[in-house]
């Protein structure tokens, strides 16, 4: 009435500069705003704990091991004997450190046993894991590969003491009765294979330990490798097949190289697990001190197994020297395991940066 009809008046259309958006008001009461520092500080403190714990462990080990390092000297790494000495006689003093008469320690058999058994474990576990991962991802139908994959993960969760129990009661005797003699009697007497000849023992020893350790690290390598294989895009594989490659060639030249460093990382991680495994090895190694296994079936021990089996009796050494020597052995194991872990981390990191989720650091 007072003017033309208000058709499409430009009132609702903003012309000119757009006013800046108001910053979003943080809603919520005082409690909700107090939450953030709580998470932040809780997280800070919690994430310091692994570092603090690791430092504490290493410092305690070093302090405890120091007297043993001074008395045992560098020869500790190369000698092959384990004599706690006489705890009845008066203790003697070497370089200001009190220790029982006649005590003399050498960790070479422990170091050798640790490295040998872990080497066997990786040697056995790697091909089996790769094959199993292939079977799970490429060969078997989904209804079968899913439960089997879960089964492999369950194997990773079986307590080591139970694997040790099985190793010493079932696997060891079985191998000693039916498998080892067969190998020992038919292997030719040449360079490396010589170690597969000779007395096969009762099933407790290097080979059994290596196989048990292998079974323990297979799930680690296999389930990681399976996840990695699933990430390999299908196009390169199909391309390979189109070029006439066989399954084995596709695996050899396309799938495995695609995730190679991931596999190496998982293998080194498994190696670290094998080096530090205690209980299972203590049960199946035969726990002989002061002697390197004469052949692959011979009884042996590892650093970890020695600590667990000797700490009890070491505590009876009034001078505390035996306990200190075990600390030195533990320190060696810690150094080996840290070196292996850092190496694995370096290898895995090189790959995982490629697969970093987009948009997040």
């Amino acid at each position: 009435m007072t003017g033309p009809a208000d058709f499409g008046s430009p009132d609702s259309v903003t012309t000119g500069p757009v006013p800046p958006l108001r910053p979003a008001r943080r809603r919520g009461g005082i409690l909700r705003r107090c939450e953030e520092p709580l998470w932040r500080w809780g997280g800070r403190v919690a994430s310091l704990i692994p570092l603090a714990g690791l430092t504490f462990v290493l410092v305690v080990l070093a302090v405890k091991a120091w007297p043993a390092i001074r008395v045992n000297g560098p020869g500790f790494l190369t000698r092959s004997l384990w004599q706690p000495g006489s705890t009845y006689g008066a203790p003697v003093r070497t370089g200001g450190v009190l220790h029982p008469v006649g005590s003399s320690y050498g960790a070479w058999p422990l170091i050798a046993g640790t490295l040998q058994s872990s080497f066997i474990a990786v040697l056995v576990a790697l091909p089996i894991s790769l094959g199993a991962a292939f079977a799970l991802t490429e060969r078997l139908p989904k209804w079968l590969s899913r439960p089997l994959g879960f089964f492999v993960e369950v194997l990773a969760g079986i307590p080591s003491v139970i694997i040790g129990l099985w190793g010493v009661l079932e696997l060891g005797p079985f191998l000693a009765r039916h498998v080892y003699p067969l190998i020992a009697n038919h292997v030719p007497n040449v360079a490396v294979l010589r170690y597969f000849r000779g007395s096969t023992g009762y099933g407790e020893g290097l080979m059994t330990s290596g196989l048990v350790l292998g079974l323990m690290i297979v799930p680690i390598i296999a389930s990681t490798t399976r996840d990695l294989f699933l990430q390999v895009p299908p196009l390169p594989k199909e391309g390979g097949e189109a070029l006439g490659m066989t399954d084995a060639e596709v695996a050899r030249w396309i799938t495995v190289p695609w995730v190679r460093s991931g596999i190496i990382g998982a293998t080194v991680l498994g190696l670290g697990r094998a080096l530090g495994e205690t209980i299972a090895v203590a049960m199946v190694s035969g726990s002989i001190l002061g002697q390197v296994a004469p052949n692959v079936y011979g009884t042996m021990t590892t650093i970890a197994a020695t600590i667990v089996s000797q700490l009890d009796s070491a505590a009876t050494d009034g001078t505390g020297f035996a306990v200190a020597t075990l600390a030195e052995a533990g320190l060696i194991l810690a150094v080996i395991s840290i070196a292996v872990n850092v190496a694995a981390r370096g290898i895995v990191n090189r790959t995982s940066r490629l697969a970093a989720p987009v948009g997040r650091v």
Binding site: A24, R27, R33, E35, E36, W39, G42, A46, S47, I49, P50, L51, G53, V57, V60, L61, P127, S129, G131, A132, F134, A135, E138, R139, L148, V152, V154, L155, I158, P159, V161, I162, I163, L165, W166, L169, L171, V218, P219, A222, D247, L269, L275, G276, E277, T278, A304, I307, V308, G330, L333, A334, S337, I338, V340, N341, V342, R345, G359, V361
Partner: protein
């Protein structure tokens, strides 16, 4: 063709021994299984495992509280709160390295340090507290790692959405980010608990052993656990002791299976309902 066969044979070499292992242990325990193993304490060479079962459960509960809190908080820190460095790499990298080194650290060395520093050094004796501290130290890196990767799988759009709604950062973290990562976090904690329940080496020289039921004492009172009986009784001279060892192994397998299967069920259910299904 040979390659296909070889890969299936390799899988057989994994599954076969694993089946042999589980069936073998069960077959040794089941024929003489008595339910009162669960309700009596060891007596002479025989008796039951009530003390050890309850002890293991107490230890697992303690690890759940201690390592669960610390591990989940550390994982949240690594995934959400640690500031990225200027060169674009993730923050807190030295803490992360320490955590990963610790996760691969030999458990017996941790147990040794627990014995030397806590049981002897602090005069706590064989007891629950040093066992808990050492076991927790062992599984914290694991929980932190799984929490971190669960949080990293939460889509960025969730955080942006919460931000756009004007939610306070800490509140959004709890209500949106952590909630959607919860299945992954719980799975990691369950698996860590199964590790803790199945450990022997770090407990032997920190928890000690006793025939009595767990008490409320944190220190100066040893506590029993299942793995001890598996480890010592299998090579005792009496058949009763052997049976106790096999029983303990059976109970352990059942405990671990319960934890692992529930972890798997959680993963399966969330995968079925999540939008980012692969």
């Amino acid at each position: 063709m040979a390659f296909r066969t070889a890969s299936v044979v390799a899988l057989g070499f994994v599954v076969g021994p694993a089946l042999w292992l589980i069936v073998g242990v069960i077959a040794r325990a089941v024929p003489h299984w008595r339910w009162n193993v669960l309700t009596t304490v060891p007596l002479g060479n025989g008796g039951g495992l009530e003390n050890a079962l309850l002890g293991t459960l107490v230890i697992m509960a303690g690890v759940l509280v201690l390592a669960g809190t610390v591990g989940v908080l550390a994982g949240i820190h690594f995934a959400e709160l640690a500031r990225p460095k200027r060169n674009g790499r993730a923050g807190s990298s030295s803490l992360r390295v320490a955590s990963e080194v610790l996760s691969g650290f030999p458990s017996i060395v941790l147990g040794y340090v627990g014995y030397v520093a806590l049981c002897v050094g602090l005069h706590w004796g064989f007891s629950l507290l040093p066992a808990l501290l050492i076991l927790s130290l062992m599984v914290v890196p694991y929980i932190a790692k799984s929490t971190e990767s669960a949080l990293r799988q939460v889509p960025t759009s969730y955080r942006e959405g919460a931000d756009a709604l004007g939610m306070a950062t800490g509140y959004a973290l709890r209500k949106v980010v952590i909630r959607s990562a919860m299945p992954g976090i719980v799975t990691g904690v369950l698996i860590a608990l199964s590790i803790a329940g199945g450990e022997t080496a770090p407990l032997l020289y920190t928890a000690g052993i006793t025939n009595s039921l767990p008490s409320s004492a944190l220190v100066h009172q040893p506590i029993a656990y299942l793995t001890y009986y598996v480890w010592t009784d299998y090579n005792q001279p009496s058949a009763q002791a052997h049976n106790l060892s096999y029983d303990a192994a059976l109970i352990l397998i059942v405990l671990v299976l319960i934890l692992l299967v529930s972890a798997r069920v959680i993963v399966y259910r969330t995968q079925r309902h999540s939008e980012s299904r692969r």
